[in-house]
Symmetry: C2
Subunit: 298 residues, 2 copies
DNA sequence: GATCCTTATACTCAAAGTGAGTATATAAAA
DNA sequence: TTTTATATACTCACTTTGAGTATAAGGATC
């Protein structure tokens, strides 16, 4: 196998925490870029490299790390090609102040339309007209838009955040699209941008995390050691951007052997709630649930 | 951002097809390595690069392509670091002969224990004793082994193929583990090996594909244009390595609006069956099903 | 042509799971 | 003591799922 020409590799991290029922992402440069840095030699693995880099530059310890996606820049400079390897990491946001221009940002600042817990009219008043204009005379575009944004009675699938962002990009409705030379089809959809394609990477992370939540216990990385069922519900609501049915959520959680009673109770306004913690076994195994297929008896 | 030192990048492909109710993977060197090659300049994207490379070297056109994982070699040579970007691609196996030492291999040749459609005793007679030996005095290892291989009444989760392979590797029960310097804990588990870490990459592909099948219509890339419900069932059974309940499978498929009647019928040894095809809309959208969470009414 | 083998297709039934809602309990604050 | 806010328990109809049985329609065999 021939070696091919040398290229440069960069690691990009989406570090997520949930605090005060709000998902947050770690940023540099006052909220305008994700943490990123070159892959250096001396790292045992890519994960180790990423962990080291983020901890050194932000002073933050990372929990669970998972790879998101790798992509190559189409030769942006004559200095040679570069590829970016992107990661999702979960952290417990400690409230220690971060140095310099490092900060935690509410991720819905970049994707306001993804938060359906609060009533807003972005989709009705801005997304829909923009996409209609873009779809003019093209029914295939129209059904795609409707399906992704839950327009004509279609239901909203929270884990399709990436596809929604990509559609807006394609339609020239986000700022970075025109920056890259696409024609606009209406007013820009509200939402802060990020450097390079970092907003797209963040959308990838949101999609991945939201998809995982449904069938794998990932949230425990984001929770305090002890928490109430409502805390857990609020955390999942924050990530998925949807509100959940309290009684049914409770039943769902209790039917699995995910949590154990800590013996303690919460204090605050209202009746005290039991404090739970994740069972040690669950933390160890990171069980991946099986898929649902109609198996036959052997 | 500093550029970091230059490295070499390689693309590795797991190309999957299903023929005669058997999943197959495209190999080079008479079934001993996956197709791999250097990332070259002039490719618009990584996917385009892969597609081009595979088509040129194997003469096979690729269908759906999806990224699997990227990993870095821990500085294996002083010639500089190299990273491998792995892909899963689905193809329709045409029966055209392939040139040279290129061939399709039944993937269960490398993972015989993953095929549970046929009765075999590999797990009972070889895996279990080996893992027991490795787990001696370590109950945590024992429960992990039991859960992954469905030992003490635990149920088999077909999409955990990668975790199973990694466990066997850790326990030194596959050949490449001792090659990499791990102690063995019993007789090697049957199954052909592949060059470098290609067997591990194949396990990753199997896990990914099996996990997808449950909640996304991916199989159509692997089927002929028209097929019977039994054909479809056999294809999914081949991939998951499990047999399905016929009537319930049929109900599941029919309840979704996935297929359409082609008007034709199959001929063969029993009553002729309706021939279906995938609906054009499904092919276009590649719908991703939402996750199951107890949503609250707005 | 009657019979058998094979596969397709239709239906049934009970158990489990899910969406939605109501009722009661227990704390702190007014 | 009443209000307010939350926790927890329970109900009920409806849907989905696992498992199985019954009937239909071809080709092959006698």
């Amino acid at each position: 196998m021939t070696p091919g020409e040398p290229i440069h590799a960069e690691l990009i991290a989406v570090v997520v925490a949930v605090t005060d029922a709000q998902p947050r992402v770690l940023t540099l440069l006052d909220g305008s870029a994700l943490p990123a840095g070159p892959l250096e030699s001396g790292h045992r693995s890519l994960q180790a490299g990423l962990r080291h880099w983020v901890e050194r530059h932000t002073g933050h310890r990372l929990g669970h790390i998972e790879q998101l996606y790798t992509f190559a820049d189409p030769d942006r400079s004559r200095a040679g090609r570069s590829i970016s390897i992107c990661y999702l990491a979960l952290a417990n946001e400690t409230r220690t102040p971060l140095g310099g221009r490092v900060s935690w940002q509410d991720w819905y600042r970049f994707f306001p339309w993804e938060d359906r817990r609060v009533a807003h009219t972005i989709i009705e008043t801005i997304v829909k007209p923009g996409l209609s204009h873009w779809s003019a005379g093209n029914p295939e575009r129209l059904t795609r838009a409707a399906r992704l944004f839950g327009l004509d009675g279609e239901d909203w699938q929270e884990d399709r955040a990436l596809a929604r962002y990509e559609l807006l990009y394609e339609a020239g409705l986000v700022r970075e699209a025109t920056r890259d030379g696409r024609p606009a089809h209406g007013e820009f959809v509200p939402g802060a941008t990020l450097a390079a394609d970092h907003r797209r990477i963040l959308a990838t992370a949101i999609s991945r995390l939201r998809a995982r939540i449904g069938y794998r216990p990932v949230v425990f990385e984001l929770m305090a050691e002890q928490f109430t069922l409502l805390d857990l519900q609020r955390c999942i609501e924050a990530l998925t951007g949807q509100t959940l049915h309290k009684a049914n959520f409770r039943r769902l959680i209790e039917s699995q052997t995910l949590l154990e009673d800590s013996g303690n109770f919460s204090s605050g306004s209202g009746r005290p709630a039991k404090l739970y913690r994740f069972r040690a076994e669950v933390l160890a195994e990171r069980a991946e649930a099986g898929t649902r297929l109609p198996l036959a008896r052997p």
